[in-house]
Amino acid sequence: MQPQQDPVERQIDYRHPLPVRVWHWANAAVLAVLLMTGLLIFDIHPHLYWGDEGHEGVPAFLSLSGTHLDRDVPQTELQIGSHRWDVTGILGSVIDDGFGGKYLLAAAAPADWQFGATRGWHFAFAWMLGLSLPLYGLYLIGSGRLTKMLLPTRGDLELRSIASEFWQHLRLKRARGESARHYNLLQKASYLAVIFVLIPTLVLSGLTMSNAMTAAFPDLIALFGGRQSARSMHFIAAMLLVSFVLVHVFQVFVAGFFNMMRSMITGRFVVDREDSA
C-alpha cells in the first residue's frame, strides 16, 4: 500500500455491526464445545480412512495403534501415510470397553466420561453452527458487507500489493492509517475460506455421517467420496479451523489486543495515525 500523503488523525470507526459481533462470539463458544466433544468422539476411534468403509483391519491414512495395553503406559505408534512415529508416553490411553476388551484412546478421557452424552452435546451445538451459518451468509450478502469488507478489491489483487502484504505479515507489522481501516488480502481470504468453505464442509460432512440424512440425500456420500472420507474431511476441516483460530488469536495480539477486543465487543475500532509508533 502506498503511504498516505496526509497522516490520518486518530479516528474511531464503527467497524463491526451487531450481527457480526453476535455471530463471532456465539460461534467462538459453539466451536469450542464442538471441538472438545469432537476430539473426544475421535478419541474412541483414532483412525482416519479414505473411501466408504473403515474399521480395524482396513488401511487407515492416519492411525494410532498400540501394544501392551495392559501396561500403565501402552506402547503406541502414530502412522500418517507411510510414516510411523513412536509416540509412547505422548499419545495413548487405555480404557476398558466394559465387555472384557480394551480401547486405545489417543488421549486420556475424563474419569466419568459418558461417550453417549458427548455425542449428544456435539449434535446440540452442531445445530447452532448449522443454523447460524446460512443466516450469517444471508446477512453478509444482504447487508453488502460481503462486497464491502470481504471480497478482494482490484487493488488487493495487484502483484505489488500482494507482495507488500506478505512482507508486512512476515515482519508482523501492524497496519496503520488508511490501510488499517480495511481487511487486507490475507485476512479477506481466510475469513472467506472459513465462512464459505471450512464451516460448510464441516456441516455437510457432518450430515453425511447421518444414516437418515444420506437416505434423503445420497449424493452427499458421493460428494465426499464415501462415508469414511466424509468423517476424515470432517476431522481435517476441523483441524484447519483450529489452525485458523490459532493464527487469528495470534494476529489479534499483533494488531493490538485491546483495540481488537473493543472492536469486536463494542464495534468501535480505533484507527491509529499513520506515523504513530
Binding site: 476411534h45 483391519g57 484412546l105 486420556a108 475424563p110 459418558q114 458427548t118 440424512m213 434423503a216
Partner: protein
C-alpha cells in the same frame, strides 16, 4: 449414576480438553442440561422427519463392497445358562415373542420366521464410535410381523428386549424405535448375515437392523418385541440401555 467404564492408565497430552469435558459430563446429569440435550435430540428427529421422506431407503451396496471382516462390538457371547442352552439346541425351542399393544401376540420359532417372506440388504453399519463396515443382512421385515400381529390404537414404540445382560450394570440390553422407523421397509429382524446363519458374535438368533439409525440402535440377541405407548416404564425410562446408562441420544438418525 453407575460408573460406566473403569478408567486406568490415564495419560495424554490433551488432558486439558479432558478436564474441561469432565465438567460437561457432570453437567449431563443436571436436569436442565439433560433437558437441553433431550430437546436437541427431539429437534433433530423432527427436523429430519420433515426433510427425509418416510420411506426413503438407505443406500444398499453391491456384493463386491461387502467388508472382508466385520467388527464384533458390544456383547459377543451372552453369559448365563439360558443362552448356553439356546445355543446347544440351536435355538430350536426358542420363540420370538411380539407382545404389548398388539391385537394378536405372536410367538414364532426361527423356522417360522424363516418361512416368512425375507428381505436381504447389503448396507453399511455405522458405529457411533466412528467406524463403518458393510454387511449383508437377511431377515423378516418388522412391518410384516406387525401386519400379522396387528397394532392397537395408541401403539407408538417398538421395544427390543435382548438376551444379553451387560456386565456393566447387570441389566439386559434393550433398545427402542418409534413406529415410523419400525415400519420402514429396511427395518428387519435379521437371522442371516453374509449369506449364512447369523453368527453368535453378531447377535444370534436375531438382531435388529434399523438402517436409518446408527450402530447401538441395532440391538443384538433380540428375544422379544414389545409394542408400547410410552417408554418411561421400561428400564430407566429413556428408551435404551445406552440412553439409560451413558446418556446416549435416543433418536440416533444422526
Amino acid at each position: 449414576m453407575t460408573e460406566l467404564i473403569s478408567r486406568r492408565a490415564l495419560l495424554g497430552s490433551l488432558a486439558a480438553t479432558g478436564t474441561l469435558l469432565a465438567g460437561c459430563s457432570r453437567l449431563d446429569d443436571k436436569t436442565p442440561f439433560r433437558q437441553l440435550l433431550g430437546a436437541a435430540d427431539g429437534f433433530t428427529m423432527h427436523a429430519q422427519r420433515l426433510i427425509v421422506a418416510k420411506r426413503a431407503l438407505v443406500r444398499e451396496l453391491p456384493l463386491a463392497q461387502l467388508s472382508a471382516t466385520f467388527p464384533m462390538n458390544g456383547t459377543t457371547l451372552p453369559k448365563g445358562d439360558y443362552y448356553a442352552r439356546l445355543l446347544e439346541t440351536e435355538f430350536r425351542g426358542w420363540k420370538l415373542r411380539v407382545h404389548g399393544l398388539v391385537d394378536r401376540p405372536l410367538a414364532l420359532t426361527l423356522a417360522q420366521l424363516q418361512s416368512l417372506p425375507a428381505r436381504t440388504q447389503i448396507t453399511m453399519h455405522n458405529c457411533d464410535e466412528g467406524w463403518s463396515a458393510v454387511g449383508q443382512w437377511t431377515g423378516v421385515q418388522l412391518a410384516r410381523l406387525f401386519a400379522l400381529s396387528g397394532l392397537k390404537p395408541g401403539a407408538r414404540y417398538a421395544v427390543f428386549h435382548c438376551l444379553d445382560k451387560l456386565d456393566l450394570d447387570g441389566n439386559y440390553y434393550y433398545e427402542s424405535i418409534d413406529l415410523q422407523d419400525a415400519l420402514h421397509p429396511q427395518t428387519i429382524l435379521a437371522y442371516g448375515m453374509n449369506g449364512r446363519q447369523l453368527p453368535v458374535g453378531y447377535g444370534a438368533p436375531l438382531r435388529l437392523r434399523v438402517e436409518t439409525q446408527i450402530g447401538y440402535k441395532n440391538a443384538k440377541y433380540v428375544d422379544r418385541v414389545e409394542v408400547v405407548d410410552r417408554l418411561d416404564a421400561i428400564g430407566k425410562g429413556r428408551g435404551g440401555w445406552w440412553e439409560d446408562f451413558d446418556n446416549a441420544v435416543w433418536y440416533a438418525g444422526q
